[in-house]
Symmetry: C2
Subunit: 703 residues, 2 copies
Amino acid sequence: MGALMLRHHALDTFMDPKSVAVIGVSRKTGQGSFNLIENMKAFGYEGKIYPVNPFAQEIMGLKCHRNIEEIGDSVDLAIISTPREEVPRIVKDCAGHGIKGAIVVPQGFADADADGKALQKQLTDISRNDGIRILGPNTLGVINAFSGFSSSFMPVRREKVPVGIICQSGIFFVGASTFTGMIGKGIDVANGCDLDFADALEYFGEDDDIKVIFLHIEGLKDGRRFFDVAKKVTRIKPVIALKTARTDQGAKAASSHSGSLVGAHEVFEAAFRQAGIISAKDPEEVLDYTKAFLYLNPMKGNRVGVLTFTGAGGIILLDTLEEQGLQMAELSSETIKTVKDLSPEWMPIHNPLDIWPAIMKHGMHSVSEQALKKLLQDPSVNALICIAIAPNPSQAFLDATDVIRETVAKQSDKPVVSWLYGPNQQAVSASLEEGGQVISLPTLPRAARTLGALYRRDGFLKQTHTDAPRFKVDPRVRELLNGLKEKGSSHIQGKKAFELLQGYGIPVVHSQFANELQGILKAAEGLGYPVALKISSAQITHKTDVGGLALNIGNRTEMESAYESMVEAVKTKSPRANIDGFLVQKMIGGGLEVILGAKRDPQFGPTILFGTGGIYTEVWKDIAYGIAPLSPEEARRMIRQTKSHEILKGVRGESGYDMDILVSCLLRLSQLMMDMEDIKEVDINPFGVFSEGGLALDARIIL
Amino acid sequence: MGALMLRHHALDTFMDPKSVAVIGVSRKTGQGSFNLIENMKAFGYEGKIYPVNPFAQEIMGLKCHRNIEEIGDSVDLAIISTPREEVPRIVKDCAGHGIKGAIVVPQGFADADADGKALQKQLTDISRNDGIRILGPNTLGVINAFSGFSSSFMPVRREKVPVGIICQSGIFFVGASTFTGMIGKGIDVANGCDLDFADALEYFGEDDDIKVIFLHIEGLKDGRRFFDVAKKVTRIKPVIALKTARTDQGAKAASSHSGSLVGAHEVFEAAFRQAGIISAKDPEEVLDYTKAFLYLNPMKGNRVGVLTFTGAGGIILLDTLEEQGLQMAELSSETIKTVKDLSPEWMPIHNPLDIWPAIMKHGMHSVSEQALKKLLQDPSVNALICIAIAPNPSQAFLDATDVIRETVAKQSDKPVVSWLYGPNQQAVSASLEEGGQVISLPTLPRAARTLGALYRRDGFLKQTHTDAPRFKVDPRVRELLNGLKEKGSSHIQGKKAFELLQGYGIPVVHSQFANELQGILKAAEGLGYPVALKISSAQITHKTDVGGLALNIGNRTEMESAYESMVEAVKTKSPRANIDGFLVQKMIGGGLEVILGAKRDPQFGPTILFGTGGIYTEVWKDIAYGIAPLSPEEARRMIRQTKSHEILKGVRGESGYDMDILVSCLLRLSQLMMDMEDIKEVDINPFGVFSEGGLALDARIIL
């Protein structure tokens, strides 16, 4: 532990205060009062509580103070539940009296109207200037079952479990049973005017009480800091995330071309993957993965052994295992022999190991124990799934939980999950889980997905991480960019765009610029037909859309007519576009069109993308994302993630394409984005890749 | 009801026998005995039971008979639990004594070794020849909670619920709580040596006790009959299916080119969709959809209104709604005003309708009731989701279930689902569901998916169904086919394949056949350069793989060199191929390459496919399937289902492509497959589609 090397953390004050001032607390108690002090006491808080309410003398036996000043004692933390207008003044007051932290409970800030947004901005400023840290607004605050402190005005259960949750809504405190199932410590960052995910994640990363961290994220303030903290914390303990507001964010981001590609959700997923965060796609996965990481051994390979009381169960499993990158283990001959000897002669024995016919011959207890023991010892098995019955108490002879629990307790270094079917699933599952070494999942697909998560975590921990390489680049790129900026250029295309890319060692197609027909014809002769002709205009983003692209021009006559139709088409379809000129390019056949792109994501900053290129890029949506700076491994992973990868490897008699050039160009693009903060977006589409080498065939850079 | 018009069904005997002979019943009773008669009596069977066991005098107070003969009374149904070898003899004996049906319980038939398969074949033959119907082998038989009959040797609960399940494993009887949750009637078709899914589906389709049917399918014997029965039954009542063994089947089917495309699972999905069966992708969907179809009103449009106690909940919903083709309703101004007046001034009011701030002001009961009433009346809302709290009994003031239940009871013609979060989800959900008009789902994504299923069912019932058209075709196609068959041709390519397609009105590219260079050159002159050159050989399936395809040949010199390299390449890469000759085709640019294909699926027979064509067809796997005969609506649906559809509509300045020609060709292909049983497979890839018209550019037909 201790890898983050923090001595004192801003959240200490929030999670374990010795004294709290509760400002704006109600006099009412009991049902429907949502009284914060009442809930705090019920939770077991034993520190000092100072109620502040100018209209009350006493609340729950505690003397009321009219204001902070009047407390006259040092206070660690303030919890504020007043109308929103009063909050900034009170926070300032708290800071003035040396209070280090404030939890701002009420709604009506950035979650509401313009006034609310302005009020929240004030809070951020106060926090920066007056040195007080703020959690919220719009928050239930924190829960700490270990210290016994909770600021939630909704009742929550106190359970000393090693699960830390960080969320943006009280729903994850109140509705924990649907999500993590339990909470040992919780931080509701909510609107996050000051303290945010990175702070809370850092805190739990350091906290030895916490073994599994769950994040509910709607949006991040500083994605880059979060990303950096997460990369460290996930090396120490598993972090599970449920990202919501996926489609909403997607819609927002869909405003421009590459905007719709770098949909925020895909970037989140890429950031999660790179940082080793386990992404849960629904609440069930949160529940299952939390339990798995708390109780199960790591999964050191992808081979699963299945012990089952039913043949059909094994088949249901197969469908999900494959999707998770897992496979049925080829069982050792010893395991097979053991079960074969117990089974009827006609029974084919293989994995999934259907022991029902053997049970009918020799009884449930003995068969289950022998088979399970062999599976646990079988070196070809990395994880086990047990499919057994959950009978009513009157049919307890069908209940295999004792055998499973005891056999696993004797010898297990593998994860063991189970699915119990029958009328008494909940009670029998609870009994199976008592030993703390086996978990029971409500369905087989969920059992398989849970093993998938364990396996991915093991893979992440085994990954080798190389730093992003530094390429030698042309120092004139910065000058060139500065020059363009000074001229007020924001959309760079054609020649200039190619120059910038070449400066970073990205190869570009041989091309010449011309601004009238004679120059174009001369350029084409020089390059040698066939050539392509492209319009160059800062106002034209998609050349194809306006007839600004002609390919495969074979000779002078064709060029003349291509030129005329292009000028005509562009005039009609984009009458206000300023035409800078034309780019004449050598036509190069036999390549595959991919897209290499980059963008500054509002949350994670420089982000690189790779995928299927050409004019149908947006139809195929076959794009992989990576957060810069990319490591070579990460660049390769991006390529592998796309369907283009199958084509790049070579299909149907083709010899395959040069993937090294793609890796190199992605890394160079990554370096360009890290070096040049002025570049907002790069879109190399198409980049033509060949059996050897590759070339940018078109490029667009936005400053 | 009664749409299937059956008087007496073979399964009547099985579901409601007046007398049963139980052959091979054990003398043991009690725990671990799996005694069938004991379970049958416990279930409540009141008919006559005749135990048959030559070694016992009496079982559970019933006189034992040594054999069927000895019973000396008429018996409706036999249940056989003997060692497998004895089963055929016993079934024959039963038939000889006038018994109409037999349930064969033991394992070890087609589920086991070669001997078992032979035994099962004997059973099928006996059933056909001796007029006895058989359920099984390897089955728990049937459950009928209404008549009180069950043949299951595993204990099952008797619940008179209108849910009928048809399955291939006892797991769905014993583990019902994981799947449908409950069973009113169940038929375990298991190995299906005689009675199969179509029979059972037909039976439940007719059965007024049953309102929702669930199918667990691993594989079908006669998919076409099943498909025809399903199309009728789904018009009367909802049918939900869980298809398992997906990947396994997929792997089996992946042996040849079109084999890997027409992966059986995709065909199943297409058949389900066409027949109006609701496909569940996991056990949770089975559970949720069953409940929804039992209790909820139909969903007449795709707009959802959300009442929520938490803002975060609404956001979680959005992600799944979109994926289901549903959308957040734009609420009426009256609904908005009602909630706005109750909320704090700063609160932005929209759908999802977050009523928490209003509750804090005016109390839970009153606000919930007013808002819900307005949502139920709001004409812009087709379905409702209520997100509320599931508190412990000590916090009952937070429990809105009474209000929700009562308000909905007063006025509801819309489906209302809810998600309750909090520590007491199960109990509070049960209380909410008591009224039988609202259902509670364990998570929000599941709530959204459940509404999606209701909405799709409504869409299916509204679909207009046109018959497949009959095109006038060239009668010589049959002669041509017969001729090819006589010559023993099985792989038809090039000229002959084009002739067959043209006979069915599918346009093909202008092309000429030649078998040496001089003929090729002449053909090319005639067609006019540029042309394509293609090898023609029955042994070469994928021309590209062996260098047997050259495109864009511009002149005589290019043709000479293309010819030489092709001959050379094919000799090297496919030395044993018999070269019939060469096809010279006019090159036609500007089209989009799609694939039109057909195959005889082992389960569903003639199946048509459409998708992205070209050499990367297998990379993109962008294929839609339809069971022939296709209706025009179905052909259009197939096209819409692919990503190619986006391109066909026209993107990025392109004008779009001729979809009518595609529909017409798919329908003609469908007719060809229905007419010509000798054709196993058709593969038109690529088919070039243009802004007007389209042409088969290459085709392969397998007999």
